[in-house]
Symmetry: C2
Subunit: 116 residues, 2 copies
């Protein structure tokens, strides 16, 4: 593997499971591995693997709590990043976009692309 590069950050975000995990942590706050797994109906090991990738990119942070390890989202940079993506999605995503980001307006139909 390589050190996280500019591309790496995007690549790490380019996966449903990992995005869902970030969404979950973003919406519901810090969680343990097993409770993430339960919430997403996923295997513990799969969740753990994904979390390692998110850790490498510093999208999340961990802290130990007894036997559990509590993962939390990086508020400083990830939240704004998501806000930016959501902005794009809200503008261009047509229909059937099942997005469960924190805040959201109604999805409007039709492109709002401005012509050059």
């Amino acid at each position: 593997m390589r050190y996280p590069s500019f591309d790496h950050f995007f690549i790490t975000l380019g996966n449903k499971q990992r995005v869902k995990m970030l969404q979950l942590l973003n919406n519901e706050g810090p969680k343990s591995v097993s409770s993430i797994a339960k919430a997403l109906n996923a295997e513990q090991s799969a969740v753990s693997h994904s979390l390692q990738q998110l850790l490498q990119c510093h999208f999340v942070a961990v802290k130990q709590d007894g036997k559990e390890r509590i993962y939390s989202i990086n508020e400083d940079t990830v939240a704004p990043l998501f806000r930016q993506i959501r902005k794009h999605v809200e503008k261009y995503c047509i229909e059937g976009c099942e997005h469960s980001w924190g805040s959201k307006k109604e999805v409007s139909y039709g492109h709002k692309r401005q012509t050059a």
Copy 2:
């Protein structure tokens, strides 16, 4: 054509080639398919395939110009998005990169169970 889902936007960004294309268009302005291919040392068809995906997510737009098709980046949302990611990268990649790999603890553990 399928409408992009929320995840699609991330997934589309999760590819070096496509990110490079966006960076190119972002830095050097609108370009034709063949000139993108040349700039990135890539095959014409590969570039075209990638452009279709970027189009679907409205990360780029096209306009016909004679025989050529000129692709341009979506300034409104993509540029800010990149700025946001770069901010994160600058904060966590430079120092954090090496660290995230080197920081794996290599503690010797007390007990080792043997394989059954």
